[in-house]
Subunit: 327 residues, 2 copies
């Protein structure tokens, strides 16, 4: 089994815009960002602590959500997976009593087959991700935060510590959580070029992703939080909490259960050391002073993205904050 002259490693470029990203919310924002700023001058740094091995295959949910969304291929009903997907493999797996609670579509499976094959060949996750992004025609660079294994582990009241996908997909995050940790974080290295990209960026954007289980693991890779904090004045975060609730996923419940105020103020406190500016939704405008009291400049704008137009509008707001474009 041989392949062409594919690279085994990949180092991030140093573009003007670097976005720290989880899955669905980040992917939506990125569809706006590539509308208002050259995609080839952008880097998305994506959480990999949700990654899992299923059936021997390396699955990277957030990376795939970002790539599929930017390629215009994502399932619009779910925000993840591929549009027009078929499910023959999962349906057939039911015969064996195999793992089907994490549904892998037939075409999506190809991504995991390819990733696993290339990593078995010795390619690192960043290199494979670059190949996958290129195959989908992306001009924006997509980078896993690390090539090393990091894995979010969730301590639940009823079952003790379980894996992230067990919590997120199998239990539909409908359980009480007492702790979250990222296994492997201390030993992980930032992906090649990441620290340099953060240092060189004109602006760093923290996407409206889950602060605990999406952005948390990104900042938790040793050196990343410090590199972002060193650029604090150039960092704009977008609150994933609107009107006290997460638009999607368990960010609100997790924040509450882990002792954070579940509001834009709670988000501001979580990001106070790394971001100079927080964009909050108009629904939370009455909390703008409290955000500023937490030491973070506050920008009020529509943040709920229901399509590319609203994502682009939010992207314009962000870029105005950072001076990449002028008000």
């Amino acid at each position: 089994m041989t392949d062409g002259p594919l690279r085994a490693t990949f180092a991030a470029p140093t573009p003007s815009l670097v976005t720290l990203a989880g899955g669905v919310g980040a992917a939506k924002l990125l569809t706006g960002l590539i509308r208002v700023h050259s995609p080839s001058d952008q880097l998305a740094v994506v959480n990999t602590a949700d990654d899992t091995v299923l059936h021997g295959l390396h699955v990277s949910p957030d990376l795939d959500t970002v790539v599929y969304t930017l390629a215009g291929a994502v399932n619009p009903d779910t925000g993840w997976g591929l549009a027009g997907e078929t499910w023959q493999a999962m349906d057939a797996l039911d015969r064996y009593g195999g793992i089907t609670w994490f549904r892998l579509g037939d075409r999506d499976l190809a991504t995991h087959l390819y990733r696993t094959h290339r990593m078995d060949q010795g390619a690192d996750l960043a290199a494979v991700t670059a190949e996958i992004a290129a195959a989908w025609g992306l001009e924006l660079a997509v980078l896993p935060v690390t090539n090393d294994r990091i894995e979010t582990r969730v301590t639940t009241v009823d079952e003790g510590e379980i894996g992230f996908q067990d919590y997120f997909v199998r239990r539909r995050h409908d359980v009480s959580v007492t702790a979250v940790r990222v296994d492997g974080a201390m030993a992980a290295q930032p992906a090649p070029g990441l620290i340099e990209a953060l240092a060189a960026a004109r602006s760093i954007i923290i996407a409206p992703s889950n602060p605990i289980v999406s952005i948390g693991p990104v900042l938790g890779v040793p050196g990343v939080r410090e590199a972002v904090a060193a650029r604090r004045e150039a960092v704009v975060a977008v609150s994933p909490i609107v009107g006290g609730a997460a638009l999607k996923g368990p960010a609100d419940r997790l924040m509450r259960e882990l002792g954070h105020e579940c509001s834009v103020v709670g988000v501001a406190r979580l990001y106070q050391d790394v971001a100079a500016t927080l964009v909050i939704d108009e629904a939370d405008s009455h909390l703008a002073d409290d955000v500023e009291a937490a030491g973070v400049a506050c920008v009020v704008a529509p943040t709920v993205m229901d399509g590319v137009e609203s994502a682009a509008e939010l992207a314009r707001t962000i870029l105005k904050c950072t001076g990449v474009t002028r008000a």
Copy 2:
């Protein structure tokens, strides 16, 4: 990720009939054997030297061909794979330039996903195979010849030594071969219960599979050839060569290129130490005396199976030879 109380190991039963099997030809014969003798009193011992790891998945072509065929689920046009299969994953893999010369159908993928998952959990191949066979409703026991990795390697004139699937699928066995060896054979152990099953069987059948790359690796697992030879009087082989040619696959060319006479006589010589009887096709009746001169009793019968009826008729002929049923 948890599973039910599945067994991690599997030991073969000791039924009356044990069939040594490759893929398509053996599977056809087995469809006849289960028509004329109780399937629950039969064991198929299947070659695993064609097994390969593709995209990180453990693929066992001959095991799957036997199971799918006996389940009535095989693609009748090819003799392998599943009927009514779809190819979304392979088509999507083309986007990445992934390995698609070995085509894995969407539903077939489920088998490899399950096998890989269970082996990652520590189950041995025999245990997983028993689970897969049970899931398809098979009563006949299906056993890999070994739980250990064995891999047929083919030395070609043009490219040196290559893997079996590289030779068989990618090159469509359309290359000249100077040697065949089974990597890992010396260190392999027979699957649990296999030697006992061979000792206890009323009759052992060598299916009309490729003597070099299907039956060869089965007999090549240490202890198997000796255990079969010890039962030589109870062993009936069916010639895969009819009129000097293989009905399917490269058996004829391989036999020639490796210095064997490509005829039923050549087959008789290859099996002379392990089989007392060889069933040859009516087309080769003029060679019956030469077969007997090679030290093997010769039975002439229709051996070309074009359906379950002809497979059952061949099965009846075999059982008459062995005394399991009387003429």
